[in-house]
Subunit: 202 residues, 4 copies
DNA sequence: AATGAATGAGGCTTCATTCAT
DNA sequence: GATGAATGAAGCCTCATTCAT
C-alpha cells in the first residue's frame, strides 16, 4: 500500500508556503524552487498538487479573497444594526490583513498590481479584481441602503460613498504597510468610520 | 569629428519610451528589446545611457514622483487660500495620473508593488515609497495646519486627516483604473474633498 | 500466506498494455503512467516486472518479432508447395500487421526507427533489426531455393529477390498505414506476389 | 555598427548541424544543446534563427523533401523517354539518400516514424508524409501513363505499380541502411527496375 | 556612438524511477 | 506484492547583458 497522504492538507500547506514566499519576494520574483524549499519538498512535488506557477497564484488569490468574503458574510450575520454592520465589515477586513497567520499584506499589493495590469487579459476571469471591488462595494452600499431605509442615514449617494470608504481603507492599509509604526491602522480606521457616520447620520 | 548627441535628451527619450512600455505591459513583463523598439534604437544603445533594467526602473520611478512633486509645488505657489491649495493639490495629482501624455496609471501600481515589497531591502534608498508618502502627507498637513492657524479649519488631527485623504485618493484611483467607466474620478474626488472641507470648516 | 500471482501472466498483461499504448502514441511519447493506467495497475508495480521503460520496449520488440516468427514457422509446416509457402508467408505477415488484436502497425515504424538508429550501438544485440531482416530474407530465399531445386522456379538470384520482396511488402505497409483507404493491402500484396510468381515460374 | 551576419547562411548552417545530429541520435533524443554544440554556437543562438525545436524539425523535414522534389523535377526535364525518366527518378532519389553531403538516411526513418505517428495530429499539415507519397506516386504514375499512351508499356494498373515500385525502393533502402555491405543498393535497384520494365514493356 | 548577434545563467516543467508504507 | 507520493535530473526556452564591428 502506498504512503497515505491527506492531499488536501498538503496542498494547503504548499499554498501557505507559496503565499509566504509571494509575500516576501513578490509573485513574479518567486521561483518554484523557493516555494519548494519553503514547503520543505522537492520542486517536482509541487506539480503533484498544482498545474503551474500561475495555478498556484490563482489559488492563492482566490484563497485570500474567498476566505475574506466568507469571514465577512459570517460576521455580518451576527448583527442587525447597519452602523454595527459597517463596524464589523471594517473590523473583519482589517483582521484579515493584520492578524493573519502570516503576513499577507505584501501579497495583496502584488495581487493589485497583477489584477490591474491584467484587466484586459484573459487572466481577468481568474483574477478579476474589478469584480471583487464590485462585490465589495455592493456589500457596503447594501448596508448603507438598509440604513437609509431604516431612517438611520441621510439620503446619500451610497455608490460613491462605498467606493470612497473602500478606497480610504485600501489606501490607509497601503501607507500602514510601508511603515507600521507610523499609526495604529485600527484606530485610524475607527476615526475614519466615526467621521463618516457622523456625517451621514440623520 | 564624433557625432554630437545630446546625451541628456536622448536619455530622457529612452526613459519616456521605457515608461510607456512599463505602463502598457508592466515592469516585469517589459523586455529591454521592447524598450529599444519603442525608443527606436538598438538594444545595445540602451546600455550607453542606463546601467541596467533596474536602473531604468529606478529613474522612471524617480522621474514620476519628482515631476509630480515639482508640479505640485509649482502649482501651490499660484494660490494662497488653504482651501484652494487643497483643491489644487488634488487637481494636479489627478492630472498627473489621468491626463499625462501617456497613460501611466498602470505603472503606479507597479511602483506601489515594488515599493511595498522593497520596504526592507537596500533598494529602499532608491525606491522609498515610504518617504514619498511621508512628503506627501507633509504637503497636506502643512496646508491643513495653515488653515487651522488662519482660523479657517477646526482644530483637527492633521496627520491622520492627511493620511486618510491621500488614502482615499489612492484607493479611488485604483478602483477607477480597474473600470474607468464606473465613475468620473475627478467628480468623485471633488465630492470627497467637498465633504471633507464641510466637515473641517469652522 | 503471500498472495499468489502468476508473474508470467501479469508480465504479459503489462506488456500487452504497453504495446497498445506504444501503438497509439509512439514509444517516446508513452509515459510509464500511461502504461500503468492501461494495465490497470500502479506505476510502481511495473517495476516489479520490468527493470525500466527501455526494458519494456525491448521485450515488446522481441515479442512482436518472435511471435511473428513463431506464427510464420508454424504456418509453413502446414504446406509443402513453395508457391503456397510464399503465399502463406505473406498472408501470415500481413495478418500480424493488420488483424492483430490491437493495431500495432504504428509501433512497427517506431521499431524500424529505433532499430535503424541503433544499428551501431550496443543495443544492437537486443534490437537487432538487421538480424531480423537477415532471418526473414533467409526464410524467403530458402523457399525460393527449394522451388528452384524442385524445378518450379527459374534459376534466379534468390538473395536479391528475397530482399526486394520483403522491401516491397514493408514499403506497401508503410504507405497503407498512412492512408488505409487508399488501397486494400492484402489485394495489392496478392498482385505483387502473383506478378513475381509469373516472372519466376519456369 | 553591429556584426554583419548572413542570417540565411547561418540558419542553413544550424539546420545542417541539426540534421546531422538528428541523423545520428534521432529527432526525439536530440537536445538543443547537442545542436548548439554541433553548430559551434550557444544554445540561445539557435533561437535567433528558429522558434523552437519543432520548428527546426519542420524545416529539416521540408528541406529534405523539397530539395529532393526540386532535384527530381529538374532531372526529369533532361530526358523524354518514359523508361529513361523512370531510371532518372530512381537514380536521383538514390543519390539524395546515398550521396548526400552527410548521411541522412537515418533521419528519413525518423521522419517516417514521426509522420506515421502524427498522421491524425495537427502536425499533419507540416509533416504530411501521406501527401509526399501521393505526390511521389503521381510522379511515377504519370510517367507510366505517358509510356502507355506512347505505346511503350502494356495497359497496366499504374497506381498500384507506382505504389509497389516506391515501396520496393523504400524497403530496399531500409535494409541497405541496416547493413550497407550486404548489397549495392544502386545495383539491386537497377535489377528491380529492369525486371519491372521487362514485365511491363509491350 | 550605435548596434544587434551571441550568449548562458536561470526559470518552468516533465517524468522515469525510488521507496516508505 | 502493490502502490503512488516524492523526487531531481534533464530538457526547452527566455532575456538581460556583452562585445565585436
Amino acid at each position: 500500500m502506498p504512503k497515505i497522504v491527506d492531499k488536501k492538507a498538503k496542498k494547503a500547506e504548499i499554498l501557505k508556503a507559496a503565499m509566504e514566499v509571494f509575500a516576501r519576494n513578490g509573485v513574479v520574483k518567486t521561483k518554484m524552487a523557493n516555494i519548494a524549499l519553503a514547503a520543505g519538498i522537492g520542486k517536482g512535488t509541487i506539480y503533484e498538487y498544482f498545474r503551474s506557477k500561475e495555478d498556484i497564484f490563482e489559488e492563492a488569490f482566490n484563497s485570500v479573497f474567498s476566505n475574506m468574503e466568507t469571514a465577512l458574510l459570517e460576521a455580518l450575520k451576527t448583527v442587525d444594526d447597519p452602523e454595527q454592520k459597517l463596524k464589523i465589515l471594517i473590523d473583519v477586513s482589517l483582521t484579515c490583513f493584520i492578524d493573519s497567520d502570516y503576513d499577507f499584506t505584501g501579497i495583496i499589493v502584488d495581487f493589485w498590481a497583477e489584477g490591474v495590469r491584467n484587466k484586459d487579459a484573459e487572466i481577468l476571469k481568474i483574477i478579476d479584481l474589478n469584480k471583487i471591488y464590485k462585490d465589495y462595494r455592493k456589500l457596503f452600499s447594501e448596508i448603507l441602503d438598509e440604513g437609509i431605509q431604516k431612517g438611520i442615514f441621510k439620503n446619500i449617494d451610497t455608490f460613491s460613498l462605498s467606493a470612497i470608504l473602500i478606497a480610504a481603507f485600501d489606501g490607509l492599509t497601503l501607507q500602514w504597510i510601508l511603515n507600521r509604526h507610523l499609526f495604529d491602522l485600527r484606530k485610524v480606521s475607527d476615526v475614519l468610520l466615526d467621521s463618516l457616520l457622523n456625517g451621514i447620520r440623520k
